[in-house]
Amino acid sequence: MSKVLRIATTWLDGCSGCHMSFLDLDERLADMAPHIEMVYGPLVDAKVFPEGVDVTLVEGAVATDEDKKKIRMIRDRSYILVSFGDCAVTANVPGMRNQFKVKDVMKRGYLENSSQNPELPSIGVPHLLDRARPVHEFVSVDVFLPGCPPPTEAILYTISELLAGRVPDLKGKARFGA
C-alpha cells in the first residue's frame, strides 16, 4: 500500500443500494481513509469526473443516452472499471422494463398516472434507450462485482486487492441477486 488509491464511484440507473453496501463498511471506512482518496462520487462535491482515476465503481445499468456518454467518459478516465452490483452487471431490475416498449413505460408513468398536465418530460431530461443494458455491453469492464447489493465483504475484498495492486478475482465470492 505505497500510494493513495484514487477512487471514484458513480451511479447510472440504480437504486443506490450498492453505494449503501459500500457505506456498510462502517468503521472500516475510517480505517481505509488514509489509503484512499474519494475523487468523485455522490458523497463528495466534485462536479467533474477527474482524469486518471485509479478505480471507478459504477452502480446501475445504462438506461439513457446520458448514461451512455457518461460511461464512455468514465471508461476513458479510469484505470480500473468495476461493474458494481447486479444492475451494472446484468441490468437487473432496471432491465425489467426491457420487455416493454419505452413508449408504453413512459405513458404509464406520465400520461395514465397523472391527474394534471399529462405529458412526457422532455426538457433537460435525458433520452431513454430502448433497453436498459449492463455496463459491459458498452465499454470494457475489468472487475465484475455482482449482488443486489454486493455483500460488504466482497466490496472490502475488492478494494483490499486493488490497494494491494492486484485485480480481484470475485469468482465464488459474490452471487447474482444477493
Binding site: 434507450l129 430502448d130 443494458r133 455491453e137 458498452f138
Partner: protein, 550 residues
C-alpha cells in the same frame, strides 16, 4: 404371386420391344422443376398432336424424370439422336414433330449441351430422364430389380454386405460414414425385428437430389432398401419423405403399389423366404429430422428431437429395434453395386471416396440443375465446365457446399478435387450435395447470416448450445450486417462457433457454425468492412443508421 427371373426378363423384353418399336422417342421431363414450367402441358400437346397425326407407332412420347438442366426447363430429349431442346412450349410441339427425320430445331437446341451433359458420369441418375417414373416396367427394362434378384437368389446376406463394403460406398446424407460398416453393425445386432429407414427428409435449402431421384426413379430406392433389408435381416422399411415434395410422395406411393403388385415387395420375394414391406412416412417441416435419432422420433410420432448417441440406431433405433438408416442416394447406389459388383464401383472416384456424387448446382451459375460426377472431379470443372460459369460477366467469389452444415470455399481452393476429405480439409463438408455458387454481388456476412437464421429456426431447442448459441450467433451477424457490430464481435463469434461445434448434442448444432467459421476464415475482410467502415463491399447488406452502436 411370386415373381421369377423369367417373369422379370419377360417384362423387360416386352417393354424394350415396345420402346424399340417406334422410330423416335420424345422424352419430356415431368419432374417438379420442369412441371412448374408447364412441361405437363407440353407432354399433353405432344400426345394430342401425335394422335391427331396418327403417328403413334412411329413416335413414342414419354414423361421422364429429371434431365438435369433445370434452369432450361421445360426440357425434352429426342431419341435416338439424343438432341436436347430447352424452354419448350406448347407452340413448339408441331415444329419439333416436323423436324423428326430432318435437322433439329436449331433455335430450341440446348446450347449448354456439350459440357453439361458430357462431363457427367451417371450411376444414381442413370435412369433419370430415361424412364417413365410411374411405370415399373420401364425400370425393369433398364435391369431394374435384377440386383434384388441377384442378392436374394445368388448371394448370402453376408456376401451382399461384403460387396457393399468392397464398393467403398459412403453415406451420401452428409457425414460419409462407410455404408458397409453400418450394414454390418445392424446385421450383427441380435434381434428378430429390425427396420430399414430411407431418409428422404432432404432439408438443406438448395439441395434437391433426393427429390429428383424419388421423382424420376423411385424403384431404384425401393430396390436398394429391399436389398438392405435382406442383407441386415429386416423385413420392414420406412421411407421418411418431406411433405413439401408432393410429387415425390405420389410417385413413391405409386411405385410401392406397383412393386407390391408385381411381388418384388411383400412375402416370398423371388420365391425366397425373404419378405419386405415399405411404408411411407411424411416429414412435416423439420430439418433436424435429417438427424438419425430425430428422424426415428418423428417416425414414432413424436417431436423430432435428437437424443444422445450412443446407443446408435444400429443397436437401438425405431421403437428400440436395430435400425438401418441410409439416405436416398445411398440406397440408389445399391442395386448397381450388386449387379456389377463392388469392385466396379470402387474403380470410380478417389482413394477414399468411391463412386459418383450427385450435386444440385444452384446460385450464380449459368447451368443450374442436377449433375452427377465421379468423386474427385475438380471443383473448377464443376463450376465452369458443367456449370457453364458465372452469368453476366460477374466474378466468381465462393461456392457453398453442404448446406447449413457446410462451408464457403473461396476461389483459391477451386482446383481441389471434390471428395469427403478434401472438402473437410477446407472447412466444408460434402453434405447431401447442395452446391451454391456465389459471385461478387453476394455478401459473405449476409450468407452466413442466412444460414444461421436457418439453423436457429431449425434448431430443435433441446440442448442449450444449439438453442441459444445459434440465436446469439445470428444476433451478432445481424448486428454486423446492419453496420452495428463492434470489433470484439468477431472474437465472440469465433468463440461461440467453437462452443457449438464441441458441445452441441447432435450434428445440427455441431455443424451449424460451419458457414460462419469458413466465411470468417476466408472472408474476414468483409466482416471487418461491415464493422469498421459500416460498409458492405458486395452491396448486399442494408446498413442501419449508425446511432446506436450497442
Amino acid at each position: 404371386m411370386t415373381l421369377t427371373i423369367e417373369d422379370l426378363q419377360n417384362i423387360a423384353k416386352i417393354e424394350r420391344d415396345r420402346q424399340e418399336g417406334t422410330t423416335y422417342q420424345i422424352n419430356v421431363c415431368v419432374a417438379a422443376g420442369c412441371l412448374s414450367c408447364q412441361s405437363g402441358l407440353v407432354k399433353e400437346a405432344f400426345d394430342t398432336e401425335i394422335s391427331r397425326r396418327g403417328l403413334e407407332n412411329w413416335c413414342l412420347v414419354k414423361g421422364v424424370g429429371c434431365l438435369g438442366l433445370c434452369a432450361a426447363g421445360p426440357l425434352i430429349q429426342v431419341q435416338p439422336q439424343g438432341t436436347y431442346y430447352q424452354g419448350v412450349t406448347v407452340n413448339d410441339v408441331s415444329e419439333i414433330l416436323d423436324s423428326l427425320g430432318g435437322s433439329p430445331v436449331a433455335r430450341l437446341e440446348c446450347s449448354q449441351h456439350q459440357a453439361f451433359f458430357q462431363c457427367q458420369q451417371k450411376i444414381v441418375l442413370e435412369n433419370c430422364g430415361k424412364i417413365d417414373p410411374e411405370r415399373i416396367e420401364d425400370y425393369i427394362a433398364e435391369d431394374g430389380y435384377l440386383g434384388l434378384f441377384t442378392a436374394l437368389r445368388q448371394m448370402t446376406p453376408g456376401e451382399v454386405i461384403e460387396q457393399v463394403t468392397k464398393s467403398g460406398l459412403r453415406g451420401r446424407g452428409g457425414a460419409g460414414f462407410p455404408t458397409g460398416l453400418k450394414w454390418t453393425a445392424v446385421s450383427k445386432a441380435v434381434n428378430n425385428t429390425k427396420f430399414i429407414v430411407c431418409n428422404a427428409d432432404e432439408g438443406d435449402p438448395g439441395a434437391f437430389m433426393d427429390r429428383s431421384v424419388l421423382e424420376s426413379d423411385p424403384h431404384r430406392v425401393i430396390e436398394g432398401m429391399a436389398i438392405a433389408g435382406y442383407a441386415v435381416g429386416a423385413s420392414h422399411g420406412f421411407i421418411y419423405v418431406r411433405a413439401e415434395y408432393p410429387l415425390a410422395v405420389k410417385r413413391v406411393h405409386t411405385a410401392i403399389a406397383q412393386a407390391e403388385r408385381l411381388g418384388v415387395l411383400g412375402n416370398n420375394i423371388f420365391n425366397t423366404r425373404f419378405e419386405f414391406n415399405i411404408e411411407v412416412r411424411l416429414g412435416a417441416g423439420a430439418f433436424v429430422c435429417g438427424e438419425e435419432t430425430a428422424l426415428i422420433a418423428s417416425i414414432e410420432g413424436r417431436h423430432g428431437r435428437p437424443r444422445p448417441r450412443p446407443p446408435f440406431p444400429a443397436e437401438f433405433g425405431l421403437w428400440g429395434f436395430p435400425t438401418l438408416i441410409n439416405n436416398v442416394e445411398t440406397f440408389a447406389n445399391i442395386a448397381p453395386i450388386i449387379r456389377r459388383g463392388g469392385e466396379w464401383f470402387a474403380g470410380i472416384g478417389t482413394e477414399k471416396s468411391k463412386g459418383t456424387k450427385v450435386f444440385a448446382l444452384a446460385g450464380r451459375v449459368n447451368n443450374t440443375g442436377l449433375i452427377e460426377v465421379p468423386m474427385g472431379t475438380r471443383l473448377r470443372d464443376i463450376v465452369f465446365e458443367i456449370g457453364g460459369g458465372i452469368p453476366g460477366d460477374k466474378r466468381f467469389k465462393a461456392v457453398q457446399t453442404g448446406g447449413p452444415s457446410g462451408g464457403c470455399i473461396p476461389e483459391e481452393h477451386l482446383d481441389m478435387p471434390v471428395d469427403y476429405e478434401s472438402l473437410a480439409a477446407v472447412g466444408s463438408i460434402m453434405g447431401s450435395g447442395g452446391m451454391i455458387i456465389m459471385d461478387e454481388t453476394s455478401c459473405m456476412v449476409d450468407v452466413a447470416q442466412f444460414f444461421m437464421e436457418f439453423c436457429m429456426s431449425e434448431s430443435c431447442g433441446k440442448c442449450v448450445p444449439c438453442r441459444v448459441g445459434t440465436t446469439q450467433i445470428y444476433h451478432l451477424l445481424h448486428k454486423i450486417s446492419g453496420g452495428q457490430g463492434k470489433p470484439s464481435d468477431i472474437e465472440t463469434l469465433g468463440e461461440l462457433c467453437d462452443l457449438l461445434k464441441n458441445t452441441s448434442l447432435c450434428g445440427l448444432g455441431q455443424t451449424a457454425p460451419n458457414p460462419v467459421i469458413s466465411t470468417l476464415k476466408y472472408f474476414k475482410d468483409e466482416y471487418k468492412a461491415h464493422i469498421r467502415d459500416k460498409n458492405c463491399p458486395a452491396g448486399a447488406c442494408r446498413m442501419q443508421a449508425p446511432e446506436e452502436a450497442l
